[in-house]
Subunit: 221 residues, 2 copies
């Protein structure tokens, strides 16, 4: 094992990289949680790492709300149910039946939940790097969520990212400033099971595909 | 060191987590590169991990173009220069002088460069999870870039994410389908120096700030 947390630049070794690859391969979007509580200091450690995520102009535009109140969770669950019922209607036949059987959220069981927003009018960073691509603030917030996700998985904790909600319903539920954009609603807890294969693949909704189409050596012209 | 890359669920240990924290803390947005080539198999390893990033509905919407042709790199550099000159005009006085001294790209030196797009009309995933938040496709692509970034850093390789370009100029340069959205232009190479402090902080553009504003225990109402 090489590397250190002191002031010197760490040199990462093969053994670290092997386990890091495991972390990437075994990260899942979790929807089946155990209800065991997570020690607050463990969540705090994950949030401290999430706060080190890359951000455009060093703007740190992410805004995390720890959602513990049952009434707020119930409102999010209702927003999910409404959006999910509407989403189900775009499918027919076998695909509709399969969609109806998928579990796409873990709001009832996950002991820790976050609503994560992006502050679009964030003064920090002085606008650097976001004149032509203001969406970089949202992308920075995604990096913060992804860092939390990996940090949690490294502690045996799973995360599920809920996007089947009307963002307006969530911003209204939490009464956030109008300049805040919902990026994701996160369910966090110990997973009921670990899997290297995504649940959507195990349930034959969507398999991963060969990557030739995704990585090209040439421009189109 | 615990964990394994076999079929069994890995258990990540304290030693792994310590080095993972170093990885997060020492990841930087790099603009000063050495020109030494990177072995293609090392880049391939990083891309293979990037392809395991979370994606909405298992859609894998990221599209990476490896940009090696000098004429294409020159066009990207020109697009950067134009956007950067326009961006510089929003600052006055000392801030304008400071902005003018910042190095915000590494196109001339970085041995490996990628233009990364999101396929907005991606059929893979069958639309799951993106009816109310179609931007989840773009967020998935960000997770792919962030995974590459960390995988590269674990190999001593730096990455810089360029967002100071008109996205239309880049999509035109590469002749990509109209359904592709530019997410970032990436410069990749061995960094001239390693730093735990971001360059924008070292150059007094923007320091990180205390995180009380970013992490809340309560909704606003």
């Amino acid at each position: 094992m090489t590397g250190q947390s002191s002031g010197e630049s760490p040199i990462f070794g093969d053994d670290f990289r092997t386990i890091f690859s495991d972390l990437i391969a075994w990260r899942r979007d979790v929807r089946h949680f155990r209800t065991d509580p997570i020690p607050p200091e463990v969540i705090a450690d994950c949030l401290a790492l999430a706060d080190l995520a890359p951000s455009v102009g060093n703007s740190q535009p992410w805004r995390w709300i720890n959602v513990s109140q049952p009434d707020l969770r119930a409102k999010v669950k209702a927003a999910f149910t409404e959006a999910n019922n509407a989403a189900a209607k775009i499918y027919d036949g076998d695909q509709a039946a399969l969609y109806a059987r998928l579990k796409l959220e873990g709001i009832d069981a996950a002991p820790v939940q976050f609503a994560v927003f992006c502050e679009e009018s964030c003064p920090q960073g002085n606008g650097l790097g976001r004149q032509t691509m203001p969406e970089m603030l949202r992308y920075s917030t995604v990096c913060s969520i992804h860092t939390f996700w990996l940090a949690a998985r490294a502690r045996g904790i799973g995360m599920g990212w809920i996007s089947i909600v009307d963002p307006a319903a969530i911003t209204e539920t939490f009464g956030v400033p109008s300049s805040w954009t919902l990026i994701g609603y996160l369910c966090v807890g110990y997973p009921a099971e670990d899997h290297i294969v995504p649940e959507l693949e195990r349930r034959h909704w969507q398999h991963r595909t060969p990557n030739e189409e995704r990585f090209r050596k040439q421009a189109f012209k």
